[in-house]
């Protein structure tokens, strides 16, 4: 044989951060495309919620305190978008833990690439995945449930972008948790325990005014209320108030998540 195993013709000495992120993002997306069941299954849960809630709570639209002239599906859908983005953020953490477990990250660590590149790539590919999920959910809602809010296409797309931003910020929190816990089951449990009550103790499914007093207090300080209110205002063409708060909170979460994720990730496997 003429080829040598190691003797170099050219020696590669590593590459710039941009290429690292690009190549690593492509890698995660390729895994996603090779197994699209992940996307399909990940929209099942929000779809079930959408179906159940739109039927069970439909009569809430006739109660006092509910915005007049708004159908429940138009009220509900923005919350479902935010919820889907949040579930998806949790999956970002789970994905990172999976990479740690199957040894791919150990390989990356022995290569001349930056820790941050691996995390940014993970986060970017999850952003793409979340966008795909949100669009899919939106189509379901429009075609099957007759979602057609007053905000029109522009409002809906703005709400979608906002949900994406919220999910992205929160995704960094879960990446941080993942790089410290390093355990998928624990991640799922922590995520579920944190997010499930927060989702209900917010303006997501019923107007805050319809909640019991103590829950109203929780809902009013719950960051998810800001996100849901903002997404809803965009969809329903209501005066938009919460967008800046929602984006600020997400950016803050993202920043804190980034700092802890990089620190946690640097620790030896």
């Amino acid at each position: 044989m003429t080829t040598t195993l190691t003797a170099p013709r050219t020696r590669w000495r590593g590459t710039d951060v941009f290429t690292q992120v690009l190549v690593l993002t492509q890698r995660s997306l390729r895994t996603l495309v090779s197994d699209p069941r992940m996307i399909v299954f990940s929209v099942l849960q929000p779809l079930v919620m959408l179906t159940l809630f739109s039927q069970i709570f439909a009569s809430i639209a006739n109660t006092p305190g509910f915005p007049t002239g708004v159908s429940y599906i138009d009220f509900l859908m923005p919350a479902i978008l935010v919820n889907t983005a949040i579930q998806s953020a949790l999956q970002a953490g789970v994905g990172l833990v999976t990479d740690m477990k199957n040894g791919v990250l150990a390989r990356f660590r022995s290569l001349p690439i930056r820790v941050g590149s691996v995390l940014v790539a993970r986060s970017l590919s999850d952003l793409v995945r979340t966008a795909a999920q949100l669009v899919l959910m939106m189509l379901f809602a429009i075609v099957i449930f007759g979602f057609s809010p007053a905000g029109g296409v522009g409002g809906v797309l703005a709400a979608l972008a906002l949900s994406l931003a919220v999910g992205w910020g929160l995704g960094w929190v879960f990446l941080a948790i993942a790089s410290w816990l390093r355990n998928a089951e624990l991640m799922q449990t922590v995520g579920f325990l944190a997010m499930f009550p927060l989702m209900f103790a917010s303006s997501a499914y019923v107007p805050v005014g319809a909640l019991p007093g103590w829950l109203q207090a929780v809902a009013n300080v719950n960051p998810l209320t800001y996100a849901v209110d903002a997404a809803r205002a965009l969809c329903l063409a209501h005066p938009v108030t919460g967008v800046v708060s929602a984006l600020t909170i997400s950016a803050a979460l993202g920043l804190v998540g980034w700092v802890f994720a990089v620190r946690g990730f640097r620790r030896p496997l």
């Binding site: 044989m1 080829t3 040598t4 195993l5 190691t6 003797a7 170099p8 013709r9 050219t10 020696r11 590669w12 000495r13 590593g14 590459t15 290429t19 690292q20 190549v23 690593l24 890698r27 390729r30 895994t31 090779s34 197994d35 199957n102 040894g103 791919v104 150990a106 390989r107 990356f108 660590r109 022995s110 290569l111 001349p112 690439i113 030896p268 496997l269």
Partner: protein, 309 residues
């Protein structure tokens, strides 16, 4: 000219209050194979992790390919290859895509990356499976892909951490041949193993680690001479007699080491079997089983423990 490709001086690393590495120094000249021999927990993997920049040492310094593993980690990483105990491949990607990914991350263009991947797939007999997701690969194929992945960047130094653990004999032999070719190409190899025969076959020099310390260094021949040729294992009918038997053997000038219900003592020749029998007879004990063993890693430990005592 200083041509040491791996140089570690007094490297220490503790996990909590367990001292995983306690002042380890090694030196590996270019184009040679160092066999790092030791049981589980001896510190082999920790040392590999320090040398491959994955784990910063608590004390001491280490250089690989002339670069400091802490301050110049980036330079070290572009010159080494690592194959760990578990195949570190992306199961969602095909074998081809796995290798292209590594090459791209090392700085190859897409074209160069594809060419290098094709070359390695050929060499490791993975051409037919190149486009299948690696999650469908058998254990042996995965390990081959993993090894191929560690060679993508034409590394100057390769770390093989128990590369043959869990491989069948044929695959083990295949891997040995690959290592021999690497050395022919001028690559420096650090190989950790629990098997004396593996180190014997591949390594130019062997370092024995126990409890985070270097307990012996030398060529295979030198170590064997130090180990003694054989050891005798004594099994007694009643295990409560073990302390008595141990005393008797010690009086006879041997260095027995007790296990659960046996005593093992290194011997220099088979004639010492008679010494054992006589010593036991003097205290009125009889062995139900007397076994003469060829030198193993255990014997290296036993001997070294006896020397230390």
């Amino acid at each position: 000219m200083n041509d040491l490709m791996i140089k570690a001086s007094d490297v220490g690393k503790a996990f909590g209050d367990r001292q995983a590495l306690d002042g380890v120094s090694i030196a590996v000249p270019r184009g040679t194979v160092l066999g790092l021999l030791g049981h589980n927990g001896a510190g082999k993997t920790t040392l590999v992790n320090v040398l491959t920049t994955m784990l910063p040492p608590d004390r001491g310094t280490a250089e690989v390919a002339g670069f400091d593993v802490v301050r110049e980690a980036h330079q070290v990483r572009s010159r080494i290859g690592l194959t760990g105990q578990f195949a570190a491949v992306d199961e969602g990607l095909s074998g081809l895509d796995n290798l292209v990914l590594i090459a791209r991350l090392l700085g190859a263009s897409t074209r160069e990356a594809r060419a290098r991947a094709a070359e390695l797939l050929e060499l490791f007999d993975l051409v037919d499976a190149a486009k299948r997701p690696s999650r469908t690969y058998s254990g042996g194929m995965r390990r081959r892909l993993d090894l191929a992945a560690s060679l993508v960047g034409h590394p100057e130094v390769i770390f093989l951490d128990e590369p043959t653990t869990g491989l069948d004999p044929a695959a083990r032999l295949g891997l040995w041949e690959v290592v021999e070719r690497l050395v022919t190409d001028g690559t420096t190899v650090l190989l950790t193993t629990q098997y004396l025969d593996e180190a014997d076959r591949l390594a130019d020099s062997i370092t024995v680690l126990a409890q985070g310390r270097v307990v012996a260094t030398g060529t295979s021949a030198e170590l064997k001479a130090q180990v003694g040729q054989r050891s005798v294992t004594v099994t007694l009918a009643d295990r409560s007699d073990l302390p008595k038997a141990q005393e008797a053997l010690e009086r006879a000038g041997l260095h027995p080491v007790p296990a659960a219900d046996t005593l093992t003592a290194p011997v220099t020749s088979s004639r010492e079997l008679a010494v054992v029998v006589r010593a036991l007879d003097e205290v009125g004990l009889e062995a139900t089983e007397l076994a003469l063993g060829e030198p193993t890693l255990d014997d290296v430990y036993l001997t070294l423990a006896a020397h230390a005592a």
